[in-house]
Symmetry: C2
Subunit: 399 residues, 2 copies
């Protein structure tokens, strides 16, 4: 399936071959004639540079990228809960090349429980029908060893949701069992560079259990609070009338649960502290925090279905945030193992302000924590400690 496509003049939209087969020079000249690389070498100001490089980037994207030699080795990406609603929302975006880039061949592993396999066969048909340039293979399985074989990324979306009358302990017992098995199977089968993002709830403690039942370095394990961050950004944009792109430095602290805390004291709107732009501090401390915390319920009440597409979108944002360098001075929310930063108990999977250099993530240090924030962080961390205590009691953190 791994065809190698040589770019040709025709592919580049150039109609005739140059004399004497002087391809490189001809390409260069032709690209310049078409205006694709004009401007880069000339005089320009910052704004014109932006416009020109953008024109260049889009022209290159649409005309050249599809004809590139896909020399990169394909990466295997596993998605659990692949037959579910978040799976259906994320798989086609991964298959389109949006997440790992238009030059990165992908082999998708669709993992779900046995009864979901017939539905998964339908998803496979549809994924084939995308006829994507990057999608080089598909695996659908309920077998964890096959599901996680050679994978470089695991998006652990599948979990058992809380049902009415279910105690938190019951929920952790059921999911803990799933993530114990998955942690072991990933450690046994995955590629050496594997990274794992846990989306299935309770994601922090599921991640904690998975991590402690695998032999992998702990810095490969992530859980998701990006949906909370995006929800918080949307609310701040709405309240201030600013564009979503103007909101920066917004970290979610703690657990992905209604106790999570969106740290508006350190966030910015158009480079200014949020509290300078939105002067109604009471709104920030109450309605803002509550709206973000209860957003999932609001979506559920309106759609009569959970927030699948925005969760899928946040998972995509999380992966991109991990593999792409963070804008200087900014940060994003990812749950990682605490190293004790900000006095948060070592070993908990906790959401922090995180920064990436494109390869490694680090917790942003030295932020001033407002007393109101500290109280909220203490509350959400206490919840994480409580979940950890239950998991320990259940014998799931024995390792």
């Amino acid at each position: 399936m791994l065809g190698k496509i040589q770019p040709s003049l025709r592919d580049l939209g150039l109609s005739s071959r140059p004399p004497g087969n002087k391809l490189p020079g001809y390409y260069h000249g032709a690209l310049r004639d078409k205006g694709w690389i004009r401007g880069i070498e000339g005089d320009f100001n910052a704004s014109a540079l932006n416009n020109r490089v953008f024109t260049l980037a889009t022209a290159l994207q649409s005309r050249i990228i599809s004809t590139l030699n896909m020399n990169k080795a394909p990466i295997h990406v596993a998605v659990t809960g692949a037959a579910g609603a978040i799976g259906y929302s994320i798989l086609f975006r991964i298959a389109s090349g949006e997440v790992f880039g238009p030059d990165q061949p992908i082999i998708l592993h669709l993992v779900d429980i046995e009864p979901a396999l017939p539905v998964l066969q339908g998803v496979i048909l549809e994924l084939e029908d995308v006829a994507s340039p990057v999608l080089k293979g598909l695996v659908a399985t309920a077998d964890m060893n096959e599901g996680f074989r050679n994978i470089s990324w695991a998006l652990l979306i599948g979990s058992v949701p809380r049902k009415p009358g279910m105690e938190r302990k019951d929920l952790l017992a059921i999911n803990g069992k799933i993530f114990t098995g998955q942690g072991q199977a990933i450690a046994k089968n995955a590629a050496k560079d594997v990274r794992i993002l846990v989306v299935g709830n309770p994601c922090n403690t599921n991640c904690l259990i998975g991590m402690n039942n695998s032999d992998l370095p702990h810095d490969r394990w992530f859980a998701m609070t990006r949906l909370d961050e995006n929800r918080a950004v949307a609310q701040l944009a709405k309240k201030s009338g600013a564009d979503a792109t103007a909101i920066s430095n917004l970290a979610i602290w703690g657990n992905h649960s209604p106790t999570m805390y969106p740290d508006f004291y350190n966030a910015k709107i158009g480079g200014k502290p949020v509290t300078e732009v939105i002067t109604d501090e009471n709104w920030l401390k109450t309605e803002f925090v509550t709206t973000v915390a209860q957003r999932g319920t609001a979506v559920m009440n309106a759609r009569k279905a959970s927030s699948a597409a925005s969760a899928a979108n946040a998972a995509i944002d999380t992966v991109k945030s991990i593999i792409t360098p963070t804008k200087a001075g900014d940060w994003h929310s990812v749950c990682v193992e605490s190293d004790g930063s900000y006095g948060i108990e070592k070993g908990l999977i906790c959401s922090f302000p995180m920064r990436s250099d494109g390869k490694k993530l680090e917790i942003v240090q030295g932020l001033k924590i407002h007393p109101f924030s500290q109280e909220k962080i203490n509350g959400t961390v206490a919840e994480l400690q409580g979940e950890k205590a239950i998991a320990t009691e259940l014998g799931m953190l024995s390792k």
Copy 2:
């Protein structure tokens, strides 16, 4: 909502300001120092050019595009059936900037029938929670005038599906009424440059009815056979063992229905005629054509739900194919008003091999039609004529 973000050195990942505030030169030098534009001006061969421009393109994408001045005026894009499954699959991809580009601000109009509005409110919440840089506004409405006001694109996805026992005439009567009203409302309210892609089935005749009940130039109306094309590409790739990217020149002719014809005689695999690569011509004439025709049913049987995500993906491919120049020598399938080409009755909305220069589409002329193809094309065109006759009889093409 239309904030304007000035790029800063920090945004570009450059840590200090240059002396004397000589930004442009500093940018240029710094970009060169970082290796982002190195290579464009030097010596290179074609392959190195590809690698370098790709590196450039992705570096620019991840580091600069998000900080660009979004100087373009926002375009309004309407999606009907927005509360449905295809709507849910396409809206978030449009909102991500994937379809119209990362520098094109968008205002999304979510249109559906009155009873769907509560669900649509949930979709609106989730779209807000994408916190997308390009999504500048959201409208949710059951009012056609509001729904189509100022739009530059209408993706008409909503339609009434055929139910058991329903005659084709009943189906056309119900949908014809919807598309009559939509055609009129689009002509009355849309932006001057509006283009309409009909996805809701029976899409060809729905498009015909909409087109004939609007005052818009007929070349603004399109219906979708790209899903059939993608399905055909997937089957040829599977059978030949070639990569999906190696399949080109695959046109669907006729009606988006099981009578559609995937013209394998003119298609290519790795630049060679399909019939040279897949020598089992009987397979091509029978199983291949049938598999493509019945693929929707196969997905439905497996998923117990219709092919929403692959249909959404094909709609995205169609829009991109219309607004992006087609690779030289290649073509894609779009249903447009027949001008009599290939002897197909003028005025029918029929799928043809189409080519775009990025602005206008044209029917690819001069293809040799194999007698087997001609017979198949005659069959599917006869079906279109039959649907047109019913629509005429129902008084829906009076204009």
